[in-house]
């Protein structure tokens, strides 16, 4: 089985901009977005989706269940 498409989805309204996911990511996939969400918080966005291996460490560290991964195999 080969993992083809790994899609990292961040719910920007759920994200509170704690940035723990950025710290947890070993590959620099995530970064702070330029804008703000409806709560006025600087949320996180997927900057380099091509670098994502789907390890899920970002999800492990997210206190708000704001990140999901879709995988096609």
């Amino acid at each position: 089985m080969t993992v083809k498409n790994i899609r990292l989805i961040i719910d920007k309204e759920r994200c509170k901009g704690c940035l723990l996911c950025i710290e947890a990511c070993p590959r620099g996939v995530l970064s702070v977005a330029k804008g703000i969400n409806r709560k006025g918080l600087k949320h996180v966005e997927v900057k380099h989706p091509e670098k994502c291996t789907g390890c899920g460490m970002c999800i492990v560290m997210c206190p708000d269940c704001a990140i999901e991964i879709e995988k096609e195999s």
Binding site: E13, R14, K16, G17, C18, L19, L20, E23, A24, L41, G54, G56, M57, I59, V60, M61, C62, P63, D64, C65, I67, E68, I69, E70, K71, E72, S73
Partner: protein
């Protein structure tokens, strides 16, 4: 195919917790363990008074409130009446180690077959960042503006170490949530605590060192670093009993 979905036992609602607060992480970890053990339908939880007072809005299993500190007494009442349910309390520094000191010690001493999740973030968050029994010496809080000094304010309170001498207490472990490795460790410890209960092996407690970025006056990342570098020196991680 979606992977890494939020746990079934967690309601799909945004939480009121601050950015980077440990409660969001620990709530999710508990829900993941409950899902893994398949015990959502027999769980009855007791929520504290503190930032997590609204936990019942986030957990998709039966939950009751309790008067501040009386949480283990309420859990005792539930477990004695429903001995085959998974009964756990979720408590902060004030609830467990200040106003509830008597209840937690005696619940452990009676070997009540319940699990306790103790969230240690060194302050009273909900009420505005006052000193907690677990506040470190030299730490500035709303009620220690001159920092915490032993002569006036006493010492950081080690309830777990104190309770280790009680024969009724089976398993005590201290973990944290400051890295993925520690998050997994907390999940393992909570699972062990729940299994201890389900196997009728007595009282168990997991103390989780958690960040309060708001009242530590630092970013979530710096707060996690503070746990790793400063807090663990006073509150070392590991199995304290069992």
């Amino acid at each position: 195919m979606k992977e890494f979905k939020k746990p079934i036992s967690m309601k799909d609602v945004p939480t009121h917790y601050c950015p980077g607060c440990g409660h969001g992480l620990i709530h999710r970890i508990i829900c993941e363990v409950i899902d893994e053990l398949g015990i959502r339908e027999k769980t009855v939880a007791v929520a504290p008074v503190g930032c997590a007072v609204l936990a019942y809005d986030y957990w998709d299993f039966d939950t009751t409130e309790a008067a501040h500190g009386r949480t283990p007494a309420v859990a005792t009442g539930i477990k004695r009446v429903l001995p085959d349910r998974l009964v756990f309390t979720y408590q902060g520094d004030g609830d467990l180690a200040a106003i509830g000191t008597s209840e937690i010690i005696h619940t452990g001493n009676r070997a009540e077959n319940i699990s306790v999740i103790f969230v240690n973030n060194g302050v009273y968050g909900m009420t505005g960042g006052q000193m907690a029994p677990t506040t470190l010496l030299g730490q500035k809080t709303a009620t220690t503006p001159f920092t915490r000094r032993p002569a006036e304010d006493g010492f950081p309170f080690k309830i777990m170490e104190m309770m280790a001498v009680l024969p009724g207490v089976t398993y005590l472990e201290r973990t944290s949530v400051c890295s993925p490795k520690e998050v997994f460790n907390t999940a393992r410890a909570i699972k062990r605590s729940f299994e201890t209960q389900l196997e009728n092996k007595g009282f168990s407690m997991v103390e989780v060192l958690s960040p309060c970025p708001t009242y530590w006056g630092m970013t979530p990342l710096k707060a996690m670093k503070r746990i790793e570098e400063v807090v663990v020196k006073e509150y070392p991680l590991g199995v304290i009993k069992g």
